[in-house]
Symmetry: C2
Subunit: 116 residues, 2 copies
């Protein structure tokens, strides 16, 4: 049995800059399910400011609109993801699942051949 654990990371760049990573995926997905940036920040245990800053950085370097904000109302502002952002998250999730599967598969095949 191999003594190692394999780890991997996949991310997307847009115009040469980091655009979508696992962390940003999680933040966007949480905004989508929680319905607002403040609720998402709370769910993830990070500050509103941190969540907002990360989303701002993504939006500045995005090829399309990611978020739709509706201010006011009873529970404060709402934030939803655009259709395109939701579609992108779906694809990124799919990519991650396939790659994770491939990494585990090849690691197991290559590293179980013999110790090393």
């Amino acid at each position: 049995m191999t003594p190692y654990q394999v780890r991997s990371k996949v991310w997307l760049e847009f115009q040469g800059l980091p655009f979508l990573s696992g962390g940003r995926y999680q933040l966007l997905a949480t905004v989508a399910s929680a319905g607002s940036i403040s609720a998402a920040a709370k769910n993830l245990g990070i500050s509103y400011r941190k969540a907002w800053t990360q989303l701002e950085a993504m939006e500045e370097n995005a090829p399309f609109l990611l978020l739709v904000r509706r201010s006011g109302g009873k529970g404060g502002g709402e934030t939803q993801l655009t259709e395109q952002a939701l579609e992108l998250l779906g694809k990124f999730h799919k990519l991650n699942c396939e790659v994770q599967f491939a990494v585990d598969h090849y690691f197991s095949v290559i590293f179980s051949e013999q110790e090393g």
Copy 2:
């Protein structure tokens, strides 16, 4: 066509600590081909101290001996990789090639379905 570029990274951990990454792979492979730490550092354009520190960190957390040092001689000390270290590099390289291929493949399949 998708506007994104996909990037990925694979690394091995041993006992919960980072053990072999692309950078360390390159350093070890260069030591193997150059025959000494100082020649490898020169080839990679890093300081001897930096190369030595990285190798030291790897060796402290390795499940087997990585390097064999022979001091003295005309051109100063020689450093060679152990059989096990060479075998590990070969496997890591193979793993990276397979994963890179899988990442490119799935990215192209998933992200060319439609824009997003």
